[in-house]
């Protein structure tokens, strides 16, 4: 048997494929991504290094900053929780039952994605102002919504809703009804079937939807500022404080708060990534 001449092994810098254009397209992608997204974000961190640690800490621990961050993160958490509960009920109604206007409502769930935040902001404000369609009856009950933290909460619920619904909906749709029938035929009550069979199957999607809604709410600006009242320490969200510091030419302050928010959103993004991987594993194994 003739020996096959062995070629010196050459390390392939990229995969062998008959499809052309790998180097070119990846090159353009990496260049454009770096120029438009990665370098500007890195610039924020570089700018923040101009501050000494004690200066940075003084800005971040300033009561007004702390109150703004608390308000943003606290209300976002609350809004995401409310969306988790009501979003799940909405998904259940849309997937499991048929009722008039169901398809229309299903399509309208995406309105918070598509409606510009400024439009949502003034619409919610006019709705919940003391003379608004919903604000007037609430005011009669002694509840003031617009220009209070409650107004911020409503705006954050508005923008977070589609994240929960659109994450959970496909999972509930793909859930095999025979699982429930099996549970029922084995003697489980309806409540047991829901809590022991259906909810565990939905859990990864529920958590992902919750995290996505939370992440969006933390950074939200446009839909909140009209309804918020924007009183320092009371109804002033962190993104608004960044804008205010910029308008006061206090760039260091704006940068430091932005770094805190950016790091927080990276942490949330990392958690969402993990959750989504878990979710995919769950659905592919079942």
């Amino acid at each position: 048997m003739a020996a096959v001449p062995t070629l010196p092994s050459i390390r392939q810098p990229w995969p062998k494929s008959v499809i052309p254009g790998f180097g070119l397209t990846l090159g353009i992608t990496l260049t454009w991504l770096s120029l438009l997204v990665l370098l500007p974000l890195a610039g924020l961190f570089i700018k923040s290094f101009e501050l000494s640690p004690s200066q940075f800490w003084a800005i971040v621990s300033h009561p007004r900053t702390v109150n703004a961050l608390k308000l943003s993160f606290g209300l976002s958490l609350l809004a995401a929780t409310i969306n988790l509960i009501f979003g799940t009920l909405v998904v259940w109604a849309l997937v499991r039952y048929d009722f008039p206007l169901r398809r229309l409502l299903d399509a309208l769930v995406d309105i918070p994605f598509a409606l510009p935040t400024a439009v949502a902001g003034i619409a919610l404000t006019s709705l919940f102002a003391a003379n608004g369609w919903l604000g007037a009856p609430l005011a009669a009950l002694g509840i003031q919504v617009a220009f209070t933290p409650l107004g911020i909460l409503l705006a954050l619920i508005f923008i977070g809703l589609p994240f929960v619904v659109r994450t959970v909906q496909p999972v509930l749709q793909d859930l095999d009804p025979e699982l429930e029938e099996a549970a029922a035929s084995l003697g489980a009550s309806r409540l047991q079937t829901v809590t022991r069979v259906i909810l565990p199957a939905l859990l990864p999607a529920l958590m992902t939807g919750f995290a996505l809604a939370f992440a969006r709410a933390v950074g939200e600006y446009g839909s909140v500022i009209f309804i918020a009242g924007n009183l320092p320490n009371i109804s002033e969200i962190a993104p608004l404080l960044i804008v205010i510091r910029l308008e006061e030419y206090r760039y260091a302050d704006a940068t430091a708060i932005a770094v805190v928010m950016l790091v927080a959103s990276f942490v949330i993004l990392f958690i969402i990534n993990r959750l989504q991987r878990w979710s995919e594993l769950r659905t592919s194994s079942s």
């Binding site: 992608t29 990496l30 039952y97 769930v109 309105i111 439009v119 446009g222 804008v243």
Partner: protein, 294 residues
């Protein structure tokens, strides 16, 4: 009889056999539907109706007059220009990125996809701020830009940059999953029959993803026209010059010109409704494109 959709089929299927614990009681069903509909009515339907009701509350002539106003016209024009630029660039980038990511295997791919999605998780205000810190008077490149008399912040280029940043993932993320699912077999067949790379792309790949591409473009366009936070930070709010429609709405609203504010807002709300309508139609097309692969 009309064709049943997935939910109607599922409901019919569930009502076929009736083991008690596999079904919700009528009372439960009624309660859940009521809560869901009430929740959607309050948070989604009423705000949408409120925009149009407010815009037309003083009649059609007041509405038309608000839109005919020169500053409103300038804002509409600027918004259209910004959207045209950012949609075009994102369209090209989305196709290029999706080609690299979906048609080839390489290390670090999932990290690259995460980076492409990054702008989604950055606060709009921070997205604007990074460009101020880069190109503003006090920014890293500020002195150089001033020396060369180039204006980016508080000018149109800054608005374009901020819009490009926030809309960066839209087209790519619609294309990547579909192109990954479709694989490379059709392209390989075309290439082995002697087609050039470019004609393979235009004759095979592009027709296969056209609906997903249109879908991504629609979403990108809606966000580009509606972006507020990021643009607000870089724009400088110069009337008639650097005011986009969302920024113009804010100015009008803060001046208590509610009819005018809601009139401009109604145009963007209409855009949102049209986008959703097209989205619903396109999702069926994309669904059948995905099923066609299996």
């Amino acid at each position: 009889m009309s064709v049943m959709d997935a939910t109607q089929l599922r409901v019919a299927y569930q009502q076929r056999t009736k083991p008690k614990a596999a079904q919700d009681r009528p009372f439960v069903r009624w309660a859940i539907i009521s809560v869901a509909v009430a929740f959607l009515a309050i948070f989604i339907v009423l705000p949408l109706i409120a925009v149009f009701a407010q815009a037309f509350s003083k009649g059609f002539s007041a509405y038309a007059a608000a839109l005919a106003e020169p500053d409103a016209q300038a804002a509409i024009r600027l918004t259209l220009i910004i959207a045209a630029i950012s949609v075009t660039i994102n369209l090209v980038f989305g196709l290029v990125a999706a080609w690299a990511i979906a048609k080839f295997e390489f290390t670090g791919k999932s990290l690259l996809v995460t980076f492409i999605d990054l702008p989604f998780s950055v606060s709009p205000v921070v997205s604007g701020l990074v460009f101020v810190l880069l190109f503003g008077a006090q920014g890293l490149l500020g002195p150089w830009l001033q020396a060369h008399d180039i204006e980016i912040i508080f000018a149109v280029p800054g608005i374009v940059l901020a819009t490009l940043f926030v809309t960066f993932p839209f087209v790519a993320r619609e294309l990547i999953p579909l192109m990954q699912q479709q694989g490379t077999q059709e392209e390989e067949a075309a290439l082995s029959l002697g087609a050039s790379g470019l004609s393979t792309f235009f004759r095979i790949t592009l027709p296969n993803v056209k609906w997903a591409l249109l879908y991504g473009v629609l979403l990108c366009n809606a966000r580009a026209m509606g972006e507020f936070g990021a643009v607000s930070v870089v724009s400088g709010h110069i009337r008639g010059e650097t005011n986009t429609m969302p920024l113009h709405i804010e100015i009008l609203y803060n001046e208590y010109q509610f009819i005018a504010a809601f009139a401009v807002a109604s145009l963007l709300a209409l855009l949102a409704v049209v986008t959703l309508l097209a989205k619903t139609l396109l999702e069926r097309r994309i669904g059948s494109a995905k099923r066609g692969v299996h």
